[in-house]
């Protein structure tokens, strides 16, 4: 988060920086996602902690060079724990005018702008709706350290005589930018060369070209006098182990597959594609050997229906979706509630209402998750807090669903789903298996089987087709409290409503107490849930030393037992959310007397740390 000011001498120094945020932006065809993730990988190998976020253009490809066609990738790396992809980039790498126009306002004042000046021709300027060339604008140079590089020409030079077409040559220029950054941040070039070679095994001529351009970029940065300093981000103190990078959606898919392994049961994922949840289904469709069966149903309702059907058969039924799909599934979720079958519903939140902003993030499905079903239909709801945490949250959702015989709703969001961070792969044996017991014998007098006879925790047995003697019927009509047969008896209904509610309340035994980061009592408690964890924790860290604490709700229903107590230990509670105040409302409803303050941004992005910090400082007076 802190690039040093330009050094006074022209002698280049190696500067230590604790964290840095770099954003690569260019046209959709410019390969920004590629070099972004290559740089990320190099940083991971260098031992940095990381957090990344891509910024795709809207769903359909826009014309080359247009504002709508800009694609970006932001990475935040640090020598200490990194919680978010960073509020504002310290370095912006912009490949064309449109990319500059849509991103320059995010670059922090004094930040470095590396720009492909060769792309600032008339045609491109016009597509970006620039009246004149911004690189000639003094304001730009006043506010930022501008480093214009003729990447087009330099790339062409590097590839002279390569025999590639000019279109193919142009495609290589992202590696020129990457080479420059490798020099700037002192990354070893050899692994990158290997990586390019591996990527283009089938087209060695492209491998050669990209390597050449990459090395040219590196050399150019070294020899030209454009850069005053170079930078080193030290290695972070990460828990030792084997690491990989995961996006939240990948992690969710991996978590479900891990749950199949740990429970010894099939995971059946019945879904329908929808942005930003689609990747979970896509990833899972490769996990066949892990006992994951995937099914792309004809619609969201059939997706969850297939999952419930599979659960009746003894599998762990799962379904993944986003807001509009969750709305469509609500009738089905109600059925799962009354059937009391295990089911995991993953909702990757996006901007709403309606189709809204499919590629943008939001946290506005919380109240629907809690209350969006007809009748009294309570169910456990939890939310993941980081891309890697999606793995553990998905496993936990499965564990609760099968232990308590209930549907469980897991909330993630587009920010987590698309964002990525290093993920430590658990050691063999580190994750506890959780057995699944099917009922195989009668449980009632006279050798009868009563599918709704409960244990002390109010959990009913799971008997699956193929088990002789336990044949039984389940359905969506209110059921007799023992046999599960249809019952229209009013008092039986009241009993069942209360029993189902109590069972879900009992899940609290599996909900860890709320932990507080910071002072145990004081002025301000920051209360967060879901994907804003990183921004809020980073804000709390930034406010270190003040009477400010942070608590994060992973479980929304039931909430941890000590929640009220924690909330009452601070004079003010501030709930920062990417919605219009849904957790705040819920907290008011659940803890009469607590009236939290709100900080709400609903602009499709993660919360800005500096805004939260400013707000808290205002509260502290």
């Amino acid at each position: 988060m802190s690039i040093p000011e330009a050094a006074p001498t022209s002698k280049r120094e190696v500067e230590q920086v604790e964290t840095v945020t770099i954003r690569f932006v260019g046209d959709s065809g410019d390969g920004m996602q590629v070099i972004g993730s290559e740089f990320t990988k190099a940083s991971a190998l260098a031992g940095n902690d990381l957090s990344t976020f891509p910024d795709f253009p809207a769903e359909i490809r826009a014309p080359a060079g247009s504002l709508a066609g800009v694609s970006g990738y932001q990475v935040h790396l640090g020598g200490r724990t990194v919680y978010t992809p960073g509020d504002a980039p310290d370095v912006l790498v912009a490949m064309n005018p449109a990319a500059l126009k849509t991103n320059i306002q995010d670059l922090r004042l004094g930040g470095m702008l590396i720009v492909n000046s060769g792309a600032f021709n008339e045609a491109n300027l016009e597509k970006a709706l620039y009246k004149k060339n911004p690189l000639e604008d003094d304001a730009l140079k006043k506010n930022y350290r501008v480093v214009p590089v003729e990447m087009n020409t330099l790339t062409q030079h590097a590839l002279e005589g390569s025999g590639l077409s000019s279109k193919e040559v142009a495609r290589c220029k992202n590696y020129f930018a990457l080479g420059m950054l490798y020099f700037l941040y002192g990354r070893p070039t050899e692994p990158q060369v290997q990586s390019i070679r591996a990527k283009f095994t089938k087209k060695p001529e492209f491998a050669d070209a990209n390597i050449k351009v990459f090395q040219a970029g590196h050399a150019f940065a070294e020899t030209s006098e454009l850069f005053v300093n170079t930078y080193r981000v030290p290695a972070a103190k990460l828990r030792p182990g084997l690491y990989r990078n995961v996006t939240g959606n990948q992690a969710t898919a991996l978590g479900l597959a891990a749950a199949a392994k740990l429970s010894g049961r099939q995971v059946f994922l019945g879904s329908y594609p929808i942005t930003p949840a689609t990747e979970i289904l896509q990833e899972s469709s490769y996990f066949k050997e892990m006992n994951v069966v995937t099914y792309q149903a004809e619609d969201e309702i059939a997706g969850i229906g297939s999952a419930i059907g599979a659960s009746f058969g003894g599998a762990i039924g799962c379904t993944t979706t986003s807001g509009p799909g969750l709305a469509l599934k609500s009738e089905m979720i109600g059925l799962a509630v009354i059937l009391e079958l295990p089911l995991v519903v993953v909702n990757v939140q996006r901007g709403g209402p309606s189709t809204g902003m499919p590629t943008k993030t939001e946290q506005a499905d919380l109240l629907m998750a809690l209350f969006g079903r007809h009748g009294e239909a309570p169910m456990p709801v939890l939310a993941a807090k980081s891309p890697g945490d999606c793995f553990y949250s998905a496993m936990e959702a499965v564990r609760i669903a099968i232990k308590w015989m209930t549907p469980v709703l897991l909330l993630t969001d587009g920010y987590l789903g698309f964002g990525s961070e290093p993920f430590r792969i658990p050691e063999e044996g580190e994750l506890q298996p959780f057995a699944v017991k099917y009922q195989t014998t009668p449980n009632y007098e006279g050798g009868k089987f009563m599918p709704y006879l409960r244990d002390a925790k109010l959990i009913r047995p799971w008997a699956v087709p193929g088990t002789p003697g336990l044949e039984h019927r389940v359905g969506g009509l209110e059921k007799d409290s023992l046999s599960g047969m249809v019952s229209y008896d009013g008092m039986n209904h009241e009993k069942m409503v209360k029993t189902r509610a109590q069972k879900i309340a009992n899940v609290v035994e599996d909900v860890p107490d709320l932990e507080v980061f910071g002072p145990a009592k004081g002025e301000v408690l920051l209360l967060s849930w879901g994907g804003t964890f990183g921004s809020v924790r980073a804000s709390a860290e930034a406010l270190h030393g003040k009477s400010v604490a942070h608590a994060h709700l992973r479980w929304l229903n039931p909430m941890p037992r000590n929640t009220g107590e924690v909330l009452r230990s601070y004079r003010k509670v501030l709930v920062p959310e990417v919605n219009n105040g849904q957790l705040a409302l819920y907290v008011r409803a659940m803890f009469p007397g607590i009236d939290p303050l709100q900080h709400n941004r609903i602009n499709g992005k993660a919360l800005n740390i500096s805004e939260i910090v400013a707000k808290v400082n205002e509260l502290l007076g």
């Binding site: 050997e289 099914y295 969850i304 229906g305 059907g309 019927r473």
Partner: protein, 350 residues
Amino acid sequence: MSTTNGTTAAAALPTYTKKDFESGVDPRWCPGCGDFSIINQVQKLLPSIGVARENIVFISGIGCSSRFPYYMNNYGMHTLHGRAPSFASGLKLSRPELQLWVVTGDGDALAIGGNHFIHTMRRNLDIKMLMFNNRIYGLTKGQVSPTSELGKKTKTTPYGSADYPFNPPALALGAGATFVARSVDLEGAHMGVVLKSAAEHRGSTFVEIYQNCPVFNDGAYTFLTEKAVKAEAQLRMEEGKPLLFGKDNRKGIRFNSQSAELEVVTLGEKGAVEKDVLVHNPRRDDPTIAFMLANLSNRPGFPTPIGIFRAVKLPTCDDLNWKVINSAKAKHGDVSLRKFLSSADTWTVE
């Protein structure tokens, strides 16, 4: 017992009787409802199909017809209106060794459930779907259904319906069903034979059963079932036999290649002889002739076909799926969790 996926241990089957398939709960349909006759045939059939009782699952939606699973002594799910095929699809894909029956009504299957219906048919999932067609919403007491006739007066169409009805077998064929048949509640023996074939078919199986609802749409099928008209009104399709009907089988269905249409001929009249009559072959790959027969019931002057329109063997969706799954399993063997999670670019922090 089979609790894992794969195949059920082939233990010796007990000798079942009809009673073994009765849940002991008395069916709650109105006196005279055609549903009684259907459940009777199903319960009579099941002892003979060689499947263990616990491996059979009945899944229904919502409607009078959909109460069916409660009366069967198998595993059963009474689900949501129109959605039964979706549960069945998931269960079948998850546990292909189970035998799945979906029981549904004309509203359940074709109104709210139309999408799941056509997709189950096209996928050729091995699911047997019995649709009780009473051409009315029974459970909600008498509204127009997608099989109600044009002009039909019901509680929601007091001046007559302005909607053309579906022809359910034609729709199933259009969607790609591999087994399509029709029977009638009052024709118990005929229904028994059709159900037996349905039980034996592997793939998407659709049986439309004309069912009288004496309370809200009484007499919907008297045109077909009354003694006096039956012979002329019913065309009983039998594999390998000419499509004859009428008193003493004097009439037949002939394909007129001039007009490219089916026509009714009377044997012995205008030179029509039996060998002109179309021989019924439900096993043609191309569904066209089945479709043509299905459409007969829409056309004035033609009899209503009952029996099997189409029965074609094609690899099922569940089989194709498990082929892929099993080959992935065979290829990878038992993968440890750590190995699985590590299959990506990794690095070590020390």
